[in-house]
Subunit: 137 residues, 3 copies
């Protein structure tokens, strides 16, 4: 059995955005030299998540607008009392979930035809980190 | 260590439905001959998900009605511009999450007393696929 | 390869609450003697979940109030017909997700600086269970 660990770093220009990391994850799988296994991708900062969906600009905007509807920026979150203005980002991370486990088959990420993996940033403009942990044969 | 891969296929009669796949996953675990491990179940099409909850007809309808409330069919999604009318299904997949990891203990799925695993289809009536990846001893 | 299994039990005083289980999970990793691997934590009862986020009392209250908004207690859930009054708890479990997979690196949980793991109870005051399954080297 093999185990492999890597970290991806992001400092986004915008506060909220989606970054396609499928290519980087593919490279991790290559480096891990795992043929059959699982690849865990998990946002280590609690105001970001991982989203596995479509590389389509309209849908990506729809997602972000919808998250804003369901977990809006508001003045009255109790979390504000700590001086933090990012409670909404914690809730958006909860909605999209903070991680995904990707199957590896025959040495490659075994994704569906349109599945792409995104780092979902909800409180960026500072250095943040994603852990990639691969286990397998 | 052993690794096992299988794919489940679904062509639903209805656009939206829940299909209990616990039995099929049990059979995958049998075939994998893994005694201790993890079983990843992941919907490969980006308008479907995996839901681990109760086999109770009322609750299943409650879930679907609630998802319709939170991620409704709407005319004004930007994703429509591509000709696709299923933006809501992408968002519903996001809410239920597209995957689950099931523990395997003593050769069986180690689920709670009422935990059942469902394939959650939000844009069906065409052939779609779920990947099952098992790792363990 | 090593595999390790444990179960955590909870009987909460309140119907809804968040319990920080990071310490207990750290102890599981110690006992498992796994240096590199994955730790699956999954609520086995279908009215509870796992939340990986901030140990901050204001935010924890914000989360619970927000879940109540999105998945409120209501009289008209069809699940009521079975005599159960906890349909909202099934939906809250769905929103926060019922599980997380935690990476293990150099013998420790590889969490972000503020990541803490919570058992999220939505229908407590009775004995309930969480499975911990660790795989790795």
């Amino acid at each position: 059995m093999k185990a492999f660990t890597d970290y991806l770093y992001f400092t986004t220009n915008e506060r909220k955005c989606l970054i396609n990391i499928t290519e980087e994850l593919d490279q991790c799988v290559q480096k891990a030299m795992v043929k059959e296994g699982m690849c865990l991708v998990s946002a280590m900062h609690i105001t970001a998540g991982i989203w596995v969906n479509d590389e389509e600009s309209g849908l990506k905007k729809d997602l972000m607008a919808w998250l804003e509807d369901l977990a809006p920026i508001r003045e009255d979150y109790l979390h504000r009392r700590t001086g933090e203005d990012n409670a909404d980002a914690h809730l958006k991370r909860t909605l999209v979930h903070h991680q995904a486990v990707l199957p590896i088959t025959e040495g490659k990420l075994d994704l569906g035809p349109w599945e792409q993996v995104f780092y979902a940033e909800f409180d960026g403009q500072r250095k943040k980190r994603v852990v990639v942990k691969i286990l397998g044969l």
